[in-house]
């Protein structure tokens, strides 16, 4: 390989490595295991019957009971909640934003999944 090409490709490699260091994980698993913090929990609240659970935030608790109680203390002070879910953050698997193209875009051009793709006469009701 000629010198210029070698420089160019090693610069490109360095860029890629730098870029990957800058991608931070959702949380630093190793750091959390080493520190003395109580585990981190994600909290989901169903505000009232008929609605689904919505992510409200996170908190630290030593065990599941404490997590539920803390969630109630922190997120339900103003009568906002009929049901609480808590999950230790480490058990949440998240999709990688880098895969967003592959995961989510293909759905965008399958417009036959949308009602507006189909033309029906106005006279037909309830459909």
């Amino acid at each position: 390989m000629r010198k210029n090409d070698a420089n160019a490709s090693s610069k490109k490699l360095a860029d890629c490595i730098l870029a990957s260091f800058e991608q931070r994980p959702f949380f630093d698993q190793k750091a959390i295991e080493m520190n003395k913090d109580w585990p981190l929990w994600e909290v989901f609240i169903r505000a009232k019957n008929g609605l689904s659970h919505k992510h409200a935030g996170s908190l630290h608790a030593a065990d599941a009971q404490m997590a539920i109680e803390n969630a109630r203390d922190v997120y339900c002070r103003r009568n906002e909640g009929v049901s609480i879910w808590v999950v230790e953050s480490k058990y949440i698997t998240a999709s990688d934003p880098e895969d967003a193209d592959a995961l989510f875009e293909p759905a965008q051009d399958k417009i036959y999944r949308h009602p507006t793709f189909y033309n029906l006469p106005d006279e037909v009701k309830h459909i």
Binding site: W38, M66, D73, V74
Partner: protein, 252 residues
């Protein structure tokens, strides 16, 4: 003593327990071991002060001399307070706070569970609302008893020391007097003698799970209900009542 006079005193006891314990718990605000627990303990304080307001307001109505919740809370001296000695004990550390809380919550829960069926509708209403909060308090303090009793060696030792210090105040509630008897006869309050064995049973269960031993000498300190307090109450009231005493008859 008339039933009305007895009821007034009885309501003060309920209100003062909630007020003084709420005041003690408020001292933790901003100083708890972890942020989530700061919120939790303040929650308990809020509930208790809320209960105190209800009981004291009703007490003032029953007394019939026009005293409202603030006049009763801020203008009585220690000899006229009727809370249990247990609730005025200092916070010391998280262990003392939890032991004090649990010993009180277990009694308070049993009491309110009966009070919600009081023949006096007003008492029943306040008790029913308070019961939900007290149930949560009992759950909270029981869990912490076990967490700390059966946690590390240090936490266990601290808990044992706290239990040794506070046990002598744990049964004052069941030392009944004329007022308790009058209330029980009228069906306004429960027969505390019936509740006592349940109290000891539930407390023993939690202590066992927490790997803690109660002291074996059982002389129970008493006098709070009658206005004979420990030296702590004077200081609590001095702090709590300062503004009303220094600037009398003003709106705040």
């Amino acid at each position: 003593m008339t039933q009305q006079e007895a009821l007034f005193q009885y309501l003060l006891r309920l209100g003062d327990n909630a007020l003084i314990l709420g005041q003690r718990l408020s001292e933790w605000c901003g100083h708890a071991p972890v942020l989530e627990q700061d919120i939790a303990i303040t929650n308990l304080a809020l509930d208790l002060i809320g209960q105190a307001r209800n009981w004291l307001t009703l007490a003032g109505e029953v007394e019939g001399k026009g005293r409202n919740e603030d006049q009763l809370a801020y203008l009585r001296d220690a000899r006229d307070f009727h809370n249990l000695l247990l609730v005025e004990q200092p916070n010391e550390d998280w262990a003392h706070t939890i032991v004090r809380q649990f010993l009180f919550d277990q009694f308070n829960y049993l009491l309110h569970n009966e009070l919600q069926h009081s023949t006096d509708e007003r008492v029943a209403a306040i008790a029913a609302k308070s019961l939900k909060e007290i149930k949560y308090h009992l759950k909270y303090s029981s869990e912490w008893m076990v967490r700390l009793g059966d946690g590390t060696e240090e936490s266990h030792n601290r808990m044992q020391r706290a239990l040794d210090a506070l046990w002598r105040y744990s049964s004052e509630a069941f030392l009944t007097d004329e007022i308790d008897q009058l209330m029980a006869e009228a069906g306004i309050g429960p027969d505390l003698h019936k509740l006592e064995p349940l109290y000891h049973q539930y407390v023993a269960q939690v202590l066992d799970e927490a790997t803690l031993q109660p002291p074996t000498d059982t002389y129970m300190q008493r006098g709070g209900k009658q206005g004979l307090h420990t030296e702590f109450l004077g200081y609590i009231l001095a702090e709590m009542q300062f503004l009303q005493r220094a600037y009398p008859n003003m709106q705040w």
